[in-house]
């Protein structure tokens, strides 16, 4: 009975949304990075896309987020080609945070987070009570409530990145695509951002992120997608796929893999050329 009561009082999760690719080819201009890729993003999990520089991680993420048009094949959102859907409708299901972000000088955290509501606002209405509630919840989730009126350029790198993630949260989409959300952050700020990302999963969201650091991928992702030269060469849970052989194939370095004595996540040790 107690379990049932819990189920009933839990807030309803947004219906999960499936994102997949079918025979996808993508790249920039004549430079084709990804060739004929089939991939389905696991729902309600954190997926980390890893691989060496130039392997097509960001290209994949940007194509999934319909920033880049495919050169062949399709990106499917709930089974429908994402480029056949109205852009606004896509924006209600999928939020993307690019690697490099710029905001106009003097913009405050609150100003930025409020932008996340744009896909939900019809052109004739400005700001609803629901927008207000969701923006407040996003600020709270990112632990930014007490600095919502601070200017972005006066924040630390970690705080600023949390503000951008809060904007993506305010977009209130079942899917979040994050391109290197912790690059250029120090250790403390990295942990801050990764824990925020983990907390999104408990709200029924699906996250895909490009990550450079295998250790963080192993610790914070449920699913790892390893890419090499535009192809997915391995995917699965960190424990299943993180082997010395895979690491060598990806980065041409040798290492040993042991289990973290505290949480059991795979750890790379004795890394050498």
């Amino acid at each position: 009975m107690k379990a049932l009561a819990t189920v009933i009082t839990q807030p309803a999760h947004p219906p999960s949304t499936a994102l997949s690719t079918h025979a996808l080819s993508a790249g920039h201009g004549k430079h084709r990075v990804i060739e004929s890729l089939d991939f389905a993003l696991p729902e309600n999990q954190v997926t980390a896309i890893v691989g060496p520089n130039g392997c097509g991680k960001s290209t994949l993420l940007n194509t999934l987020g319909r920033i880049l048009a495919p050169q062949g094949g399709h990106v499917l959102l709930d089974g429908i080609d994402i480029h056949h859907l109205p852009s606004k409708q896509v924006a209600q299901k999928l939020a993307l945070l690019p690697q490099e972000t710029t905001a106009p000088e003097g913009m405050t955290v609150l100003d930025l987070v409020r932008f996340g509501r744009q896909p939900h606002q019809p052109w004739y209405s400005q700001w609803s009570a629901e927008d207000q509630r969701i923006v407040k919840a996003a600020l709270k989730a990112a632990n930014l409530l007490d600095m919502q009126n601070r200017e972005l350029d006066k924040l630390s790198g970690g705080q600023r990145q949390r503000a951008w993630i809060a904007m993506a949260i305010a977009q209130d989409t079942p899917l979040l695509l994050l391109d290197e959300p912790t690059s250029a952050l120090d250790l403390g700020h990295q942990i801050e951002v990764f824990e925020l990302i983990r907390s999104l999963i408990t709200q029924g969201k699906t996250v895909a992120m490009v990550v450079h650091d295998l250790l963080n991928a192993a610790r914070y992702a449920d699913h790892i997608v390893a890419m090499h030269e535009g192809a997915i060469i391995a995917q699965g849970s960190p424990k299943e796929i993180l082997t010395p052989e895979l690491v060598y194939e990806l980065y041409q370095v040798r290492c040993d893999v042991i289990n973290d004595p505290v949480n059991g996540a795979p750890l790379l040790v004795n890394i050498r050329r």
């Binding site: 940007n62 987020g65 319909r66 920033i67 109205p86 852009s87 606004k88 409708q89 896509v90 924006a91 209600q92 939020a95 993307l96 945070l97 690019p98 972000t101 710029t102 905001a103 106009p104 000088e105 003097g106 913009m107 405050t108 100003d111 930025l112 932008f115 996340g116 744009q118 896909p119 606002q121 052109w123 977009q171």
Partner: protein, 314 residues
């Protein structure tokens, strides 16, 4: 924000009043005031209603148009130094008007539509030039193409003026930029296009604000950056074309007004664009009033008093 708007509105009212009361000529501020209060001599009535009122109204509309066009341009180019003149809009407009005069149109019948058509043509040429190499979405290339077209058109305009003395005489006053001597009929011709510009601005103001976060972010939020940009360029052409038709190619207002508005109201165009509507006319009417009393009893061209006004600002 409401206080800021009220303050700007009050300042605009004061500036307009000053523009009505002060000026070159024999009409004293007291005589002008008594006309405003319903009395006054015949001469003073003429000066006020036939000379100063149209001049102030033209300054009002031109200032609003240039201020907003500047704000749109700077958001579009993501460059606070972008100036509507850069797009080739003013130059296209000036060239079209010169050409029309050369082909026989007299100054009085000079239609505002010629100037606007020229502005639009200049705008479209520069857009397609920037698009030629498949880089139509690159704001820096857009501005560069605009600057090139501007210089070319201004050179052609000078060439036309060299060949034809009559045109040169008629256009000389206009081309230095002035709000004087325009009749209210031309204001009426501008009204439809200004209304269209306003409606379009209201439609794209939200996506335009998102564009300030970058193209990727605007797409992510469900907007179409290419379409927003094109609409914004059209609005700029309408506004600057209208302003140039009225008062000649006036630079600087479009550059400095958004600067002041941003300093007062913050970086979001949804907040500072409304301020531009007030600050534009304040600066333009203020500069015009100044140019009337500065070298009394002569009329000093607006183009020279505007930078004078700006010196203390820098």
């Amino acid at each position: 924000m409401p206080i800021l708007l009220l303050g700007c509105a009050a300042l605009l009212l004061l500036t307009s009043l000053a523009s009505l009361l002060m000026g070159a000529g024999d009409t004293t501020p007291w005589q002008a005031l008594s006309v405003l209060l319903g009395a006054g001599t015949e001469d003073a009535r003429f000066v006020l209603f036939e000379l100063r009122l149209p001049r102030t109204l033209v300054g009002l509309v031109t200032g609003m148009a240039l201020g907003c066009a500047g704000a749109l341009m700077q958001t579009l180019a993501r460059n606070p130094l972008a100036e509507p003149g850069l797009l080739g809009v003013s130059a296209g407009s000036a060239f079209a008007v010169t050409l029309a005069l050369l082909l026989g149109a007299s100054s009085a019948s000079l239609s505002v539509y010629v100037a606007q058509a020229g502005a639009l043509a200049g705008c479209l040429i520069v857009l397609s030039a920037a698009r030629l190499k498949g880089v139509g979405n690159d704001p820096i290339r857009l501005v560069l193409a605009g600057a090139t077209l501007s210089s070319l058109l201004l050179a052609l305009t000078s060439l036309l003026l060299m060949f034809d003395q009559r045109t040169a005489d008629e256009i000389r006053f206009w081309i230095t930029g002035s709000v004087a001597g325009r009749d209210l009929a031309s204001l009426r011709h501008l009204l439809p296009s200004l209304l269209v510009a306003t409606a379009l601005t209201l439609l794209i103001i939200r996506p335009l604000a998102a564009l300030a976060l970058g193209e990727t972010m605007a797409t992510n939020l469900g907007h179409k950056p290419g379409r927003i940009r094109l609409t914004a360029v059209l609005i700029v052409a309408l506004l600057v074309g209208a302003a140039t038709a009225m008062a000649g190619p006036i630079m600087f207002v479009g550059l400095v007004v958004p600067f002041i508005a941003r300093a007062l109201a913050g970086a979001d165009i949804r907040r500072y664009l409304a301020l531009c509507l007030f600050i534009g006319p304040i600066i333009l009417i203020g500069a015009d009033t100044l140019s009337r009393i500065l070298v009394y009893p002569l009329n000093y061209p607006l183009a020279y008093s505007l930078p004078l006004l700006a010196l203390p600002y820098y």
